[in-house]
Protein backbone atom coordinates (compact mmCIF):
# COMPACT_ATOMS: atom_id res chain seq x y z
CA UNK A 1 0.00 0.00 0.00
CA UNK A 2 2.79 2.38 0.86
CA UNK A 3 6.01 3.32 -0.91
CA UNK A 4 7.57 5.54 -3.50
CA UNK A 5 5.63 5.17 -6.71
CA UNK A 6 6.86 5.32 -10.23
CA UNK A 7 5.47 6.65 -13.48
CA UNK A 8 2.26 5.19 -14.80
CA UNK A 9 2.17 2.78 -17.62
CA UNK A 10 1.39 4.44 -20.92
CA UNK A 11 3.82 7.30 -20.41
CA UNK A 12 6.71 7.08 -22.78
CA UNK A 13 10.12 7.58 -21.21
CA UNK A 14 10.78 10.29 -23.77
CA UNK A 15 7.72 12.30 -22.68
CA UNK A 16 9.15 15.68 -21.61
CA UNK A 17 7.64 19.10 -21.11
CA UNK A 18 8.26 22.39 -19.35
CA UNK A 19 5.37 24.13 -17.64
CA UNK A 20 5.78 27.80 -16.78
CA UNK A 21 4.02 30.16 -14.38
CA UNK A 22 2.92 27.44 -12.00
CA UNK A 23 1.69 28.55 -8.55
CA UNK A 24 3.65 26.83 -5.82
CA UNK A 25 1.48 24.83 -3.43
CA UNK A 26 3.52 24.91 -0.26
CA UNK A 27 3.09 28.15 1.71
CA UNK A 28 0.72 31.10 1.66
CA UNK A 29 2.95 33.08 -0.74
CA UNK A 30 1.62 30.93 -3.64
CA UNK A 31 4.58 32.11 -5.77
CA UNK A 32 3.17 31.86 -9.30
CA UNK A 33 6.42 32.07 -11.26
CA UNK A 34 7.55 28.48 -10.85
CA UNK A 35 8.74 26.63 -13.95
CA UNK A 36 8.66 22.85 -13.83
CA UNK A 37 10.36 20.33 -16.05
CA UNK A 38 8.42 17.10 -16.35
CA UNK A 39 9.75 13.81 -17.67
CA UNK A 40 7.59 10.76 -18.01
CA UNK A 41 4.89 12.16 -15.69
CA UNK A 42 7.43 12.99 -13.00
CA UNK A 43 8.57 16.50 -12.06
CA UNK A 44 12.36 16.49 -12.33
CA UNK A 45 13.26 20.17 -12.04
CA UNK A 46 11.81 23.16 -10.22
CA UNK A 47 13.06 26.54 -11.43
CA UNK A 48 12.55 29.62 -9.23
CA UNK A 49 11.15 27.68 -6.28
CA UNK A 50 12.58 27.94 -2.76
CA UNK A 51 13.87 24.87 -0.95
CA UNK A 52 10.37 24.12 0.41
CA UNK A 53 8.87 24.39 -3.07
CA UNK A 54 11.57 22.18 -4.56
CA UNK A 55 11.00 19.59 -1.86
CA UNK A 56 7.25 19.56 -2.49
CA UNK A 57 7.34 19.33 -6.28
CA UNK A 58 10.35 17.07 -6.70
CA UNK A 59 9.12 14.58 -4.10
CA UNK A 60 5.51 14.47 -5.26
CA UNK A 61 5.74 10.73 -5.83
CA UNK A 62 7.51 9.91 -2.57
CA UNK A 63 5.89 8.16 0.37
CA UNK A 64 2.42 8.03 -1.17
CA UNK A 65 -0.61 6.20 0.06
CA UNK A 66 -1.28 4.04 -2.96
CA UNK A 67 -4.67 2.57 -2.38
CA UNK A 68 -7.74 2.88 -0.16
CA UNK A 69 -7.50 0.88 3.04
CA UNK A 70 -9.85 0.03 5.91
CA UNK A 71 -8.83 -1.16 9.37
CA UNK A 72 -10.12 -4.66 10.03
CA UNK A 73 -9.28 -6.30 13.38
CA UNK A 74 -6.66 -3.60 13.99
CA UNK A 75 -4.89 -4.02 10.67
CA UNK A 76 -5.18 -1.77 7.63
CA UNK A 77 -6.36 -3.86 4.69
CA UNK A 78 -6.41 -2.66 1.10
CA UNK A 79 -9.93 -2.41 -0.30
CA UNK A 80 -11.62 -0.93 -3.36
CA UNK A 81 -12.45 2.76 -3.40
CA UNK A 82 -16.17 1.87 -3.31
CA UNK A 83 -15.70 -0.19 -0.17
CA UNK A 84 -13.64 2.52 1.54
CA UNK A 85 -16.25 5.13 0.65
CA UNK A 86 -19.05 2.89 1.95
CA UNK A 87 -17.14 2.33 5.20
CA UNK A 88 -16.55 6.08 5.57
CA UNK A 89 -20.20 6.89 4.89
CA UNK A 90 -21.34 4.31 7.42
CA UNK A 91 -19.03 5.69 10.12
CA UNK A 92 -20.23 9.23 9.43
CA UNK A 93 -23.95 8.39 9.45
CA UNK A 94 -23.65 6.51 12.73
CA UNK A 95 -21.80 9.41 14.40
CA UNK A 96 -23.56 11.76 16.80
CA UNK A 97 -20.96 14.55 16.58
CA UNK A 98 -18.88 14.15 13.40
CA UNK A 99 -16.08 16.64 12.72
CA UNK A 100 -14.73 17.50 9.29
CA UNK A 101 -11.29 19.04 9.69
CA UNK A 102 -8.30 20.17 7.64
CA UNK A 103 -8.88 21.73 4.19
CA UNK A 104 -5.84 24.03 4.13
CA UNK A 105 -3.67 21.94 1.79
CA UNK A 106 -6.34 21.37 -0.80
CA UNK A 107 -8.25 23.53 -3.25
CA UNK A 108 -11.46 25.52 -2.93
CA UNK A 109 -13.85 23.08 -4.66
CA UNK A 110 -13.03 20.50 -1.99
CA UNK A 111 -14.10 23.01 0.63
CA UNK A 112 -17.50 23.36 -1.02
CA UNK A 113 -18.11 19.60 -0.78
CA UNK A 114 -16.90 19.57 2.85
CA UNK A 115 -19.41 22.25 3.87
CA UNK A 116 -22.22 20.43 2.06
CA UNK A 117 -21.28 17.19 3.81
CA UNK A 118 -21.20 18.92 7.20
CA UNK A 119 -24.67 20.29 6.56
CA UNK A 120 -26.02 16.89 5.50
CA UNK A 121 -24.55 15.25 8.58
CA UNK A 122 -25.45 17.98 11.04
CA UNK A 123 -21.77 17.97 11.96
CA UNK A 124 -19.00 20.46 12.57
CA UNK A 125 -16.56 21.72 9.95
CA UNK A 126 -13.32 23.40 10.98
CA UNK A 127 -10.12 24.18 9.13
CA UNK A 128 -6.51 24.28 10.31
CA UNK A 129 -6.68 28.03 10.86
CA UNK A 130 -8.20 27.25 14.26
CA UNK A 131 -4.63 26.34 15.31
CA UNK A 132 -2.79 29.06 13.34
CA UNK A 133 -4.51 32.28 12.31
CA UNK A 134 -7.98 31.59 13.71
CA UNK A 135 -7.22 34.18 16.36
CA UNK A 136 -6.51 36.64 13.52
CA UNK A 137 -10.08 36.05 12.32
CA UNK A 138 -11.43 36.73 15.80
CA UNK A 139 -9.27 39.85 16.11
CA UNK A 140 -10.46 41.19 12.77
CA UNK A 141 -14.10 40.47 13.63
CA UNK A 142 -13.64 42.70 16.66
CA UNK A 143 -11.58 45.46 15.13
CA UNK A 144 -11.57 45.35 11.32
CA UNK A 145 -9.30 44.10 8.60
CA UNK A 146 -6.79 46.70 7.33
CA UNK A 147 -5.50 44.24 4.72
CA UNK A 148 -3.10 45.23 1.97
CA UNK A 149 -1.82 43.34 -1.05
CA UNK A 150 1.67 41.98 -1.66
CA UNK A 151 1.86 43.91 -4.94
CA UNK A 152 1.14 47.19 -3.13
CA UNK A 153 3.82 46.33 -0.59
CA UNK A 154 6.38 45.72 -3.32
CA UNK A 155 5.55 48.94 -5.14
CA UNK A 156 5.09 51.29 -2.20
CA UNK A 157 6.30 50.12 1.22
CA UNK A 158 9.26 51.85 2.80
CA UNK A 159 8.96 50.14 6.19
CA UNK A 160 8.25 46.43 6.57
CA UNK A 161 7.59 45.00 10.03
CA UNK A 162 7.61 41.25 10.70
CA UNK A 163 6.05 40.59 14.10
CA UNK A 164 6.35 37.04 15.46
CA UNK A 165 7.19 35.74 12.02
CA UNK A 166 10.26 34.07 10.54
CA UNK A 167 9.70 34.14 6.77
CA UNK A 168 13.23 32.99 5.99
CA UNK A 169 12.12 29.58 7.31
CA UNK A 170 8.36 29.51 6.77
CA UNK A 171 8.03 31.62 3.58
CA UNK A 172 11.55 31.59 2.10
CA UNK A 173 10.80 33.78 -0.96
CA UNK A 174 8.67 36.36 0.83
CA UNK A 175 11.54 38.79 1.27
CA UNK A 176 13.34 38.14 -2.01
CA UNK A 177 10.14 38.30 -4.11
CA UNK A 178 8.21 41.14 -2.50
CA UNK A 179 10.48 43.08 -0.18
CA UNK A 180 13.89 43.20 -1.85
CA UNK A 181 12.43 43.73 -5.35
CA UNK A 182 12.17 47.25 -6.75
CA UNK A 183 8.66 48.59 -7.36
CA UNK A 184 6.95 51.49 -9.11
CA UNK A 185 7.60 53.90 -6.24
CA UNK A 186 10.56 52.12 -4.69
CA UNK A 187 13.54 52.04 -7.00
CA UNK A 188 16.19 50.99 -4.49
CA UNK A 189 14.59 48.69 -1.91
CA UNK A 190 17.86 47.54 -0.36
CA UNK A 191 18.63 51.10 0.66
CA UNK A 192 15.24 52.78 0.99
CA UNK A 193 13.01 50.00 2.33
CA UNK A 194 13.70 49.04 5.94
CA UNK A 195 12.92 45.70 7.55
CA UNK A 196 12.17 45.53 11.27
CA UNK A 197 11.65 42.29 13.17
CA UNK A 198 9.90 41.95 16.53
CA UNK A 199 10.36 38.50 18.03
CA UNK A 200 11.08 36.68 21.28
CA UNK A 201 14.17 35.01 19.83
CA UNK A 202 16.85 35.67 17.28
CA UNK A 203 15.88 34.06 13.97
CA UNK A 204 17.19 33.75 10.42
CA UNK A 205 14.94 36.73 9.55
CA UNK A 206 15.98 38.90 12.48
CA UNK A 207 19.61 38.44 11.46
CA UNK A 208 19.05 39.97 8.01
CA UNK A 209 16.75 42.75 9.25
CA UNK A 210 17.74 46.40 9.55
CA UNK A 211 16.47 46.43 13.14
CA UNK A 212 15.67 43.59 15.54
CA UNK A 213 13.62 44.24 18.66
CA UNK A 214 13.74 41.26 20.99
CA UNK A 215 10.79 41.22 23.36
CA UNK A 216 10.09 38.95 26.32
CA UNK A 217 7.82 35.97 25.63
CA UNK A 218 4.14 36.69 26.23
CA UNK A 219 4.45 40.48 26.24
CA UNK A 220 3.26 41.26 22.69
CA UNK A 221 0.02 42.81 23.93
CA UNK A 222 1.81 45.10 26.38
CA UNK A 223 4.41 46.21 23.86
CA UNK A 224 1.84 46.91 21.12
CA UNK A 225 -0.40 48.73 23.59
CA UNK A 226 2.49 50.98 24.66
CA UNK A 227 3.42 51.73 21.04
CA UNK A 228 -0.26 52.65 20.45
CA UNK A 229 -0.25 54.96 23.45
CA UNK A 230 2.98 56.63 22.27
CA UNK A 231 1.63 56.99 18.72
CA UNK A 232 -1.38 58.79 20.19
CA UNK A 233 0.90 61.12 22.15
CA UNK A 234 0.45 59.74 25.67
CA UNK A 235 3.29 59.85 28.17
CA UNK A 236 4.25 56.63 29.94
CA UNK A 237 5.06 56.38 33.64
CA UNK A 238 7.19 53.24 33.29
CA UNK A 239 10.74 52.77 32.02
CA UNK A 240 10.50 49.43 30.24
CA UNK A 241 7.93 47.05 28.83
CA UNK A 242 8.47 43.56 27.45
CA UNK A 243 12.24 44.04 27.71
CA UNK A 244 12.28 47.24 25.62
CA UNK A 245 13.03 50.73 26.95
CA UNK A 246 10.16 53.25 26.64
CA UNK A 247 12.66 55.65 25.12
CA UNK A 248 13.30 53.15 22.29
CA UNK A 249 9.60 52.49 21.87
CA UNK A 250 9.05 56.24 21.53
CA UNK A 251 11.56 56.31 18.67
CA UNK A 252 9.84 53.28 17.11
CA UNK A 253 6.42 54.95 17.28
CA UNK A 254 7.76 58.19 15.75
CA UNK A 255 9.43 56.27 12.94
CA UNK A 256 6.22 54.35 12.26
CA UNK A 257 4.30 57.63 11.99
CA UNK A 258 6.78 59.20 9.63
CA UNK A 259 7.08 56.52 6.92
CA UNK A 260 5.29 56.87 3.56
CA UNK A 261 3.80 53.37 3.50
CA UNK A 262 4.19 50.79 6.24
CA UNK A 263 3.22 47.13 6.30
CA UNK A 264 2.80 44.95 9.38
CA UNK A 265 3.27 41.26 8.58
CA UNK A 266 2.38 39.07 11.53
CA UNK A 267 2.86 35.40 12.21
CA UNK A 268 2.08 32.80 14.80
CA UNK A 269 4.42 34.48 17.25
CA UNK A 270 1.58 36.97 17.66
CA UNK A 271 -1.48 34.74 17.15
CA UNK A 272 -0.37 31.80 19.31
CA UNK A 273 1.26 33.71 22.17
CA UNK A 274 -0.40 34.72 25.42
CA UNK A 275 -3.22 37.12 24.61
CA UNK A 276 -3.85 35.41 21.25
CA UNK A 277 -6.74 37.23 19.53
CA UNK A 278 -6.25 40.20 21.86
CA UNK A 279 -2.73 40.55 20.44
CA UNK A 280 -4.14 40.69 16.91
CA UNK A 281 -6.91 43.03 18.03
CA UNK A 282 -4.28 45.41 19.50
CA UNK A 283 -2.15 45.21 16.33
CA UNK A 284 -5.16 46.08 14.14
CA UNK A 285 -5.93 49.07 16.34
CA UNK A 286 -2.29 50.16 16.13
CA UNK A 287 -2.53 50.07 12.32
CA UNK A 288 -5.78 52.05 12.50
CA UNK A 289 -4.10 54.63 14.76
CA UNK A 290 -1.12 54.90 12.40
CA UNK A 291 -3.49 55.57 9.50
CA UNK A 292 -4.30 58.91 11.14
CA UNK A 293 -0.72 59.91 10.29
CA UNK A 294 0.28 57.93 7.21
CA UNK A 295 -0.59 54.79 5.25
CA UNK A 296 -0.26 51.38 6.96
CA UNK A 297 -1.65 47.95 6.14
CA UNK A 298 -1.30 44.52 7.75
CA UNK A 299 -1.07 41.06 6.22
CA UNK A 300 -1.10 37.72 8.05
CA UNK A 301 1.73 35.34 7.15
CA UNK A 302 -0.43 32.35 6.24
CA UNK A 303 1.29 28.98 6.44
CA UNK A 304 -0.37 26.32 4.28
CA UNK A 305 -0.92 27.33 0.68
CA UNK A 306 -4.72 27.47 0.91
CA UNK A 307 -5.51 28.05 4.55
CA UNK A 308 -6.57 31.58 3.59
CA UNK A 309 -8.85 29.96 0.99
CA UNK A 310 -10.41 27.76 3.67
CA UNK A 311 -11.33 30.90 5.63
CA UNK A 312 -12.67 32.63 2.52
CA UNK A 313 -14.80 29.74 1.26
CA UNK A 314 -16.10 29.00 4.74
CA UNK A 315 -17.16 32.63 5.07
CA UNK A 316 -18.83 32.64 1.63
CA UNK A 317 -20.77 29.45 2.26
CA UNK A 318 -21.47 29.34 5.99
CA UNK A 319 -21.06 32.96 7.01
CA UNK A 320 -18.12 32.17 9.29
CA UNK A 321 -14.39 31.60 8.70
CA UNK A 322 -13.85 28.46 10.82
CA UNK A 323 -15.35 26.42 13.68
CA UNK A 324 -18.81 26.05 12.14
CA UNK A 325 -21.46 23.77 13.69
CA UNK A 326 -24.44 22.46 11.67
CA UNK A 327 -25.99 20.35 14.43
CA UNK A 328 -29.12 22.51 14.47
CA UNK A 329 -29.42 22.43 10.71
CA UNK A 330 -28.06 25.95 10.23
CA UNK A 331 -24.51 27.23 10.69
CA UNK A 332 -23.41 28.48 14.09
CA UNK A 333 -19.97 29.83 14.95
CA UNK A 334 -18.12 29.73 18.23
CA UNK A 335 -14.35 29.30 18.50
CA UNK A 336 -13.59 27.53 21.77
CA UNK A 337 -16.82 25.51 21.38
CA UNK A 338 -16.81 24.24 17.80
CA UNK A 339 -13.08 24.51 17.09
CA UNK A 340 -11.40 21.16 16.49
CA UNK A 341 -9.04 20.99 19.48
CA UNK A 342 -11.85 21.94 21.89
CA UNK A 343 -14.33 19.42 20.49
CA UNK A 344 -11.73 16.67 20.59
CA UNK A 345 -10.29 17.40 24.03
CA UNK A 346 -13.85 17.51 25.46
CA UNK A 347 -14.34 14.06 23.89
CA UNK A 348 -17.37 15.30 21.89
CA UNK A 349 -16.15 14.27 18.45
CA UNK A 350 -16.99 10.63 17.76
CA UNK A 351 -15.85 10.47 14.12
CA UNK A 352 -13.20 12.62 12.43
CA UNK A 353 -13.09 13.14 8.68
CA UNK A 354 -9.63 14.58 8.05
CA UNK A 355 -9.01 16.22 4.69
CA UNK A 356 -5.46 17.27 3.73
CA UNK A 357 -4.10 17.82 7.25
CA UNK A 358 -2.26 15.84 9.92
CA UNK A 359 -3.98 16.47 13.26
CA UNK A 360 -2.37 13.49 14.99
CA UNK A 361 1.05 15.09 14.37
CA UNK A 362 -0.01 18.61 15.26
CA UNK A 363 -2.61 18.49 18.03
CA UNK A 364 -1.62 18.55 21.71
CA UNK A 365 -1.29 15.37 23.71
CA UNK A 366 -4.71 15.03 25.32
CA UNK A 367 -6.48 15.75 22.02
CA UNK A 368 -4.34 12.98 20.54
CA UNK A 369 -5.42 10.61 23.32
CA UNK A 370 -9.05 11.00 22.20
CA UNK A 371 -8.18 10.74 18.50
CA UNK A 372 -6.71 7.32 19.21
CA UNK A 373 -10.10 6.12 20.43
CA UNK A 374 -12.39 7.29 17.63
CA UNK A 375 -12.69 6.30 13.96
CA UNK A 376 -10.71 8.60 11.68
CA UNK A 377 -11.39 8.80 7.97
CA UNK A 378 -8.23 10.20 6.43
CA UNK A 379 -8.03 11.76 2.95
CA UNK A 380 -4.45 12.65 2.03
CA UNK A 381 -2.06 12.01 -0.84
CA UNK A 382 0.78 10.87 1.42
CA UNK A 383 1.45 8.81 4.48
CA UNK A 384 1.33 10.92 7.62
CA UNK A 385 1.02 10.35 11.34
CA UNK A 386 -2.79 10.45 11.11
CA UNK A 387 -2.74 7.69 8.49
CA UNK A 388 -1.10 5.39 11.05
CA UNK A 389 -4.13 5.36 13.34
CA UNK A 390 -6.90 6.04 10.79
CA UNK A 391 -9.73 3.56 10.35
CA UNK A 392 -10.07 4.47 6.68
CA UNK A 393 -7.31 5.87 4.48
CA UNK A 394 -8.27 7.18 1.06
CA UNK A 395 -5.37 8.52 -1.00
CA UNK A 396 -6.08 11.57 -3.09
CA UNK A 397 -4.46 13.61 -5.87
CA UNK A 398 -2.15 16.47 -4.83
CA UNK A 399 -3.94 19.76 -5.46
CA UNK A 400 -1.94 22.03 -7.73
CA UNK A 401 0.22 19.16 -9.01
CA UNK A 402 -2.13 16.32 -9.95
CA UNK A 403 -5.40 18.22 -10.15
CA UNK A 404 -6.41 21.82 -10.77
CA UNK A 405 -8.45 24.11 -8.55
CA UNK A 406 -8.23 27.50 -6.92
CA UNK A 407 -6.38 28.73 -3.86
CA UNK A 408 -6.11 32.03 -2.00
CA UNK A 409 -2.82 33.81 -1.31
CA UNK A 410 -2.04 35.28 2.11
CA UNK A 411 -3.24 38.71 0.95
CA UNK A 412 -6.59 37.37 -0.29
CA UNK A 413 -5.72 37.06 -3.99
CA UNK A 414 -7.30 33.94 -5.56
CA UNK A 415 -5.06 32.03 -7.98
CA UNK A 416 -5.81 29.17 -10.34
CA UNK A 417 -3.82 26.02 -9.57
CA UNK A 418 -2.49 23.91 -12.42
CA UNK A 419 -2.60 20.21 -13.08
CA UNK A 420 0.97 19.34 -14.04
CA UNK A 421 1.05 15.55 -14.05
CA UNK A 422 -1.47 12.73 -13.91
CA UNK A 423 -2.19 11.31 -10.45
CA UNK A 424 -1.24 7.68 -9.78
CA UNK A 425 -3.62 5.11 -11.25
CA UNK A 426 -7.05 5.14 -9.61
CA UNK A 427 -6.35 8.17 -7.43
CA UNK A 428 -8.80 11.06 -7.65
CA UNK A 429 -8.96 14.57 -6.15
CA UNK A 430 -10.26 15.24 -2.62
CA UNK A 431 -13.37 16.90 -4.06
CA UNK A 432 -14.31 13.76 -6.00
CA UNK A 433 -13.82 11.50 -2.96
CA UNK A 434 -16.08 13.80 -0.93
CA UNK A 435 -18.66 13.72 -3.73
CA UNK A 436 -18.61 9.90 -3.61
CA UNK A 437 -19.07 9.96 0.18
CA UNK A 438 -21.95 12.42 -0.18
CA UNK A 439 -23.60 10.29 -2.88
CA UNK A 440 -23.27 7.19 -0.71
CA UNK A 441 -24.61 9.04 2.30
CA UNK A 442 -27.63 10.28 0.34
CA UNK A 443 -28.29 6.79 -0.96
CA UNK A 444 -28.18 5.30 2.54
CA UNK A 445 -30.14 8.02 4.31
CA UNK A 446 -32.41 8.88 1.34
CA UNK A 447 -31.64 12.58 1.93
Amino acid sequence: MICCIYPREGFSISSKKTVKNVPCVFCGCLCDDIALEVENNRIVKNINGCSLSKSKFLNHLEDRLLGPAVRINGILVEVSLEKAVAHAAEALTSARRPLIYGLSSTENDTHQEAYYLAELLGGVVDNTSSVCHGTSMIGSQESGDPLGSLAEVRHRADLVVYWGSNPQFAHPRHISRYIRQPGEYMQNPKKDRKIWVFDVRSTATSRIADEFFQIEPGTDLEVISVIRALVRGHEMDIDRVGGLAIEDLAKISEAMKSVRYGVFFYGLGLTQSKGQHRNVDAAIRLIQDLNSFTKWVMIPMRGHFNVAGANETSTWQTGYPFAVDYSRGYPRYQPGEYSAVDLIRRRETDVLLNVAADPVAHFPRDALEHLKRIPIINLDPKRNVTSLIAEVNIPTAIAGIECDGAAVRMDGLPLYLRKIVEPPEGIIPDRDVLKLIIARLRMVTKR
Binding site: L52, D63, F169, F322, A361, F363, K372
Partner: protein, 133 residues
Protein backbone atom coordinates in the same frame (compact mmCIF):
# COMPACT_ATOMS: atom_id res chain seq x y z
CA UNK B 1 20.34 10.87 36.35
CA UNK B 2 21.04 14.53 37.13
CA UNK B 3 18.22 15.92 39.30
CA UNK B 4 18.94 19.61 38.75
CA UNK B 5 17.09 21.08 35.80
CA UNK B 6 17.04 24.39 33.98
CA UNK B 7 13.83 26.39 33.82
CA UNK B 8 12.91 27.99 30.51
CA UNK B 9 10.03 29.06 28.32
CA UNK B 10 9.30 26.77 25.39
CA UNK B 11 8.45 28.23 22.00
CA UNK B 12 7.39 25.86 19.21
CA UNK B 13 7.38 26.84 15.57
CA UNK B 14 8.29 26.21 11.95
CA UNK B 15 11.79 25.40 10.74
CA UNK B 16 13.07 25.15 7.20
CA UNK B 17 14.33 21.64 7.80
CA UNK B 18 10.97 20.51 9.18
CA UNK B 19 9.08 21.92 6.20
CA UNK B 20 11.48 20.42 3.70
CA UNK B 21 11.61 16.95 5.23
CA UNK B 22 7.83 16.75 5.69
CA UNK B 23 7.64 16.41 1.89
CA UNK B 24 10.03 13.46 1.96
CA UNK B 25 7.57 11.73 4.27
CA UNK B 26 6.11 12.49 7.69
CA UNK B 27 7.28 9.09 8.87
CA UNK B 28 10.77 9.39 7.38
CA UNK B 29 13.93 9.43 9.48
CA UNK B 30 14.79 12.83 8.04
CA UNK B 31 11.51 14.33 9.25
CA UNK B 32 11.70 12.74 12.66
CA UNK B 33 15.25 13.89 13.24
CA UNK B 34 14.26 17.42 12.19
CA UNK B 35 11.41 17.66 14.72
CA UNK B 36 12.79 15.66 17.66
CA UNK B 37 15.17 18.43 18.73
CA UNK B 38 15.33 21.26 21.23
CA UNK B 39 17.35 24.37 20.37
CA UNK B 40 18.98 26.17 23.29
CA UNK B 41 21.78 28.56 24.20
CA UNK B 42 25.32 27.55 25.20
CA UNK B 43 24.85 28.52 28.88
CA UNK B 44 21.89 26.20 29.28
CA UNK B 45 23.86 23.35 27.73
CA UNK B 46 26.77 24.05 30.02
CA UNK B 47 24.60 24.07 33.14
CA UNK B 48 22.96 20.82 32.04
CA UNK B 49 26.39 19.35 31.38
CA UNK B 50 25.51 18.27 27.86
CA UNK B 51 26.95 18.73 24.38
CA UNK B 52 25.10 19.34 21.15
CA UNK B 53 23.38 16.16 20.07
CA UNK B 54 23.04 14.74 23.58
CA UNK B 55 19.59 13.72 24.72
CA UNK B 56 17.65 16.20 26.81
CA UNK B 57 14.37 15.65 28.66
CA UNK B 58 11.79 18.44 28.68
CA UNK B 59 9.13 18.43 31.39
CA UNK B 60 5.96 20.50 31.48
CA UNK B 61 2.82 20.16 33.58
CA UNK B 62 1.45 17.93 30.80
CA UNK B 63 4.24 15.40 30.53
CA UNK B 64 7.76 14.91 29.34
CA UNK B 65 9.61 14.07 26.15
CA UNK B 66 13.20 13.20 25.29
CA UNK B 67 14.76 14.83 22.22
CA UNK B 68 18.22 15.72 20.94
CA UNK B 69 19.77 19.01 22.04
CA UNK B 70 20.83 21.53 19.43
CA UNK B 71 23.00 24.58 20.04
CA UNK B 72 21.60 27.92 18.92
CA UNK B 73 24.53 30.37 19.01
CA UNK B 74 22.14 33.34 18.93
CA UNK B 75 19.76 32.18 21.65
CA UNK B 76 19.51 33.79 25.06
CA UNK B 77 19.15 31.78 28.26
CA UNK B 78 15.54 31.29 29.35
CA UNK B 79 13.95 30.59 25.98
CA UNK B 80 14.22 27.23 24.21
CA UNK B 81 12.71 26.23 20.88
CA UNK B 82 11.23 23.06 19.41
CA UNK B 83 9.98 22.57 15.86
CA UNK B 84 6.27 21.76 15.51
CA UNK B 85 5.58 18.08 15.37
CA UNK B 86 4.62 15.04 17.35
CA UNK B 87 7.41 15.42 19.93
CA UNK B 88 6.66 19.00 20.92
CA UNK B 89 2.93 18.25 21.08
CA UNK B 90 3.53 15.56 23.69
CA UNK B 91 4.24 18.25 26.27
CA UNK B 92 1.88 21.01 25.13
CA UNK B 93 -1.56 21.67 26.60
CA UNK B 94 -4.86 21.77 24.77
CA UNK B 95 -6.57 24.52 26.80
CA UNK B 96 -7.64 27.16 24.28
CA UNK B 97 -9.07 29.85 26.58
CA UNK B 98 -12.20 30.01 24.44
CA UNK B 99 -10.52 30.90 21.15
CA UNK B 100 -9.69 27.47 19.68
CA UNK B 101 -5.92 27.93 19.91
CA UNK B 102 -3.90 25.64 22.20
CA UNK B 103 -0.74 26.88 23.96
CA UNK B 104 1.94 26.30 21.35
CA UNK B 105 4.17 29.11 22.56
CA UNK B 106 5.35 30.43 25.91
CA UNK B 107 5.00 27.18 27.86
CA UNK B 108 7.02 26.88 31.12
CA UNK B 109 9.37 23.93 30.86
CA UNK B 110 12.23 22.36 32.84
CA UNK B 111 15.12 20.75 31.00
CA UNK B 112 17.13 17.82 32.31
CA UNK B 113 20.01 15.91 30.78
CA UNK B 114 18.88 12.46 29.67
CA UNK B 115 21.96 10.27 29.30
CA UNK B 116 21.35 6.73 28.10
CA UNK B 117 17.83 7.66 27.01
CA UNK B 118 16.76 7.39 23.41
CA UNK B 119 14.54 9.76 21.51
CA UNK B 120 11.02 8.40 21.19
CA UNK B 121 9.80 7.20 17.84
CA UNK B 122 6.37 7.99 16.43
CA UNK B 123 5.20 4.52 17.47
CA UNK B 124 6.36 5.16 21.04
CA UNK B 125 4.52 8.47 21.11
CA UNK B 126 1.28 6.97 19.80
CA UNK B 127 1.34 4.29 22.48
CA UNK B 128 1.89 6.70 25.38
CA UNK B 129 -1.37 5.95 27.12
CA UNK B 130 -3.16 2.68 27.70
CA UNK B 131 -4.74 1.01 24.73
CA UNK B 132 -2.45 2.31 22.03
CA UNK B 133 -3.85 2.03 18.57
Amino acid sequence: MKKVGVKAVLISGRTLQQGRTSELGKLSEDYLSSVAVCEMDANTMEVLGIHEGDAVRLETLLGDVVVRSKLDQNARPGVVFMPWGPHANTILGSETHGCGMPSYKGVPVILFPAPDTSVRTIDDLLHLSEGGI
